[in-house]
Symmetry: C2
DNA sequence: TGACAATATCAGAAAAATTTGATATGTTGT
DNA sequence: ACAACATATCAAATTTTTCTGATATTGTCA
C-alpha cells in the first residue's frame, strides 16, 4: 500500500522537489540512445547533476529517496540510468491525502 | 502563495500525520463551550495530548509546524485553543502537486 | 578480457529536526 | 488584582537527515 508519510517526507525536501520539477519538465534525455533519434522520456544522472550543480553521490542519494518513496521509476538504458516520475504514485498520493484528511 | 515543500515536510512526519488523522476524524471538542451543548468542530491540546500520549510542549511544537504550513487553523475558545484542518490548503496542495508534477 | 565511464554505497562530518523540562505568557473566574 | 489552568517559548540533549570524499559495483566497448 501507499505510504503517505514517506512520500510527503520525500517531497518535503527542497532539493528533491526541485528534481521532481526538473523531471516533470524534461522532454528528452541527453545521452545517445541506440536505435532512436535521441528523444526519450526521463533524465539521467548526468543531466540532473548538470541542472542542479550537485555532485554525483548527492544526486544518487536523493534519487534513491525518491525511488524508494515510489515517486520515481528508474530505467537502465545502456550505461546510463534514466529517471522519470511515477505518475500513478503521485495520483494515488493526492487521492489518499484527500481521502484521509478531508471530510 | 502555497508552499508545497513546507506542506510536504509538515505531513512527512509520522507524529504530525497522526495528528492530522485525528483532526480529520474528530467530531467535537471535549471542553465545556459556553452557549453550546458541547459539539463544536476541532480538537484542543488536551485532547491531542490524551489521544497521542505526548506531553504538552511536544504537542505545541507540532501544532505550530502544522499551523505554519497552513494545514491547521487555530481558534481560541475560552481558555482552550482548538485546532481544525484547513481544508482549503489541503485541496490547494493536492492540486498544486498535480499541476507541478503531472503532465 | 581490460580500460573506462556511470552509478551505488559507505563512513564520517555537518546541519537540521525532534524531544524534554523549565519557564513565560495568556485566559478565565473569583 | 489574584489564583488556577491552558498554551507557548526557550535552551540543551538527542536523534535524524543531509552532504561529501573515497571506494565499490555495474555496464559498455574495444
Amino acid at each position: 500500500m501507499i505510504d503517505t508519510v514517506k512520500i510527503s517526507r520525500a517531497l518535503g525536501d527542497p532539493v528533491r522537489y526541485k528534481i521532481m520539477l526538473l523531471l516533470a519538465n524534461s522532454e528528452s534525455g541527453c545521452c545517445p540512445q541506440p536505435g532512436t533519434n535521441g528523444a526519450l522520456p526521463g533524465l539521467c544522472n548526468c543531466e540532473i547533476m548538470a541542472h542542479t550543480g550537485m555532485i554525483q553521490s548527492r544526486v544518487s542519494y536523493h534519487m534513491k529517496e525518491l525511488t524508494e518513496a515510489g515517486l520515481v521509476t528508474e530505467e537502465q538504458r545502456g550505461k546510463w540510468k534514466y529517471y522519470y516520475i511515477n505518475t500513478a504514485t503521485l495520483k494515488d498520493y493526492a487521492g489518499k491525502i484527500k481521502a484521509d484528511l478531508l471530510r
